[in-house]
Symmetry: C2
Subunit: 163 residues, 2 copies
Amino acid sequence: MNELQDPTQRDLHGSGAVTFSMRSEYGVRFMVALTRMDHGEPVSLTDIADQEDLPRAYLEQIIGGLRDAGLIDSQRGAHGGYRLARPANEVRMGEVLRALEGPIVPMACLAAAGSPCNRADNCTVSQLWSRVRDSVNEALDSFTLADLAKPSSPVALSSSTKH
Amino acid sequence: MNELQDPTQRDLHGSGAVTFSMRSEYGVRFMVALTRMDHGEPVSLTDIADQEDLPRAYLEQIIGGLRDAGLIDSQRGAHGGYRLARPANEVRMGEVLRALEGPIVPMACLAAAGSPCNRADNCTVSQLWSRVRDSVNEALDSFTLADLAKPSSPVALSSSTKH
DNA sequence: TCAATTCCGACGAAACGTGTCAGAAATCCC
DNA sequence: GGGATTTCTGACACGTTTCGTCGGAATTGA
């Protein structure tokens, strides 16, 4: 229903790396939609799922991470729903993505805090992965939620001095 | 044999995103090892796999992409093996990774050349993904193969003027 | 001719991503 | 209190991808 798979696009061996999952896509769109729809009362998940055309039950599951990270507040019961826990311009997208996906780390090698690889001696390669990791995190943190919630203006970043 | 899985490390929901696969890890280590071992005659896959302790048959399969991309030359038959097709300091790691993984794209949204999303209208979110994509590619291209093949020096980058 | 080596396709097992579902718990309103 | 609404939680199912093995064909040097 959704996978066109253009035959001219050679399917090398899977094609597509360093990807965020649908989880991230949905989670980010949830946050943006919530920012736009938040006007005091909590916004229900159904409203957001309808608005953004997202699978509601799946979204429900994804949102847990955002709540646990303290990015959104929830209220149960009738007329319940979600609210941003902080103003949108104080929420860096890096926080959102890390809440959704866990630590952003391009190679298992870097996951264990203490020891990089077991081949620590001359593993110059880990320099490459850590540079990538830092770049991704910087890129994510250069956006705030407010930046993405603005209707359409080309690329007005808010408060990043660099880059 | 390799997954310790420290129980204190809460397994949020899979933990680890934006990751390169083993394919990349192995492929990069192959290239680095080849750079170090290349002294005129072709180096056999078995030698490299032994040296780097990589699964040989799997590596064989991975290398196809590197050959097709013109990064390495191969010679079949007895005393055959692989050689770098170009000097190591002229090979950007971005080329290597793209040869291994296909285009580096953080979200399916950006994969199709023409249309970004089907929700093209107000999809401000795609700005985020494309910034990340550019950052990753820049980070990868800021290293050459020669940088990684040097024994150990901290972080001496060669020919990147920026950053 | 024989041994070494790359090349290629098929196969299998395990992990992961993407959802669905049912039901429990909380909250509001009458 | 009772019923409607909504979040919360865990289990499950299904397809795809990753990781790797295997066997054999093609190529080359001695």
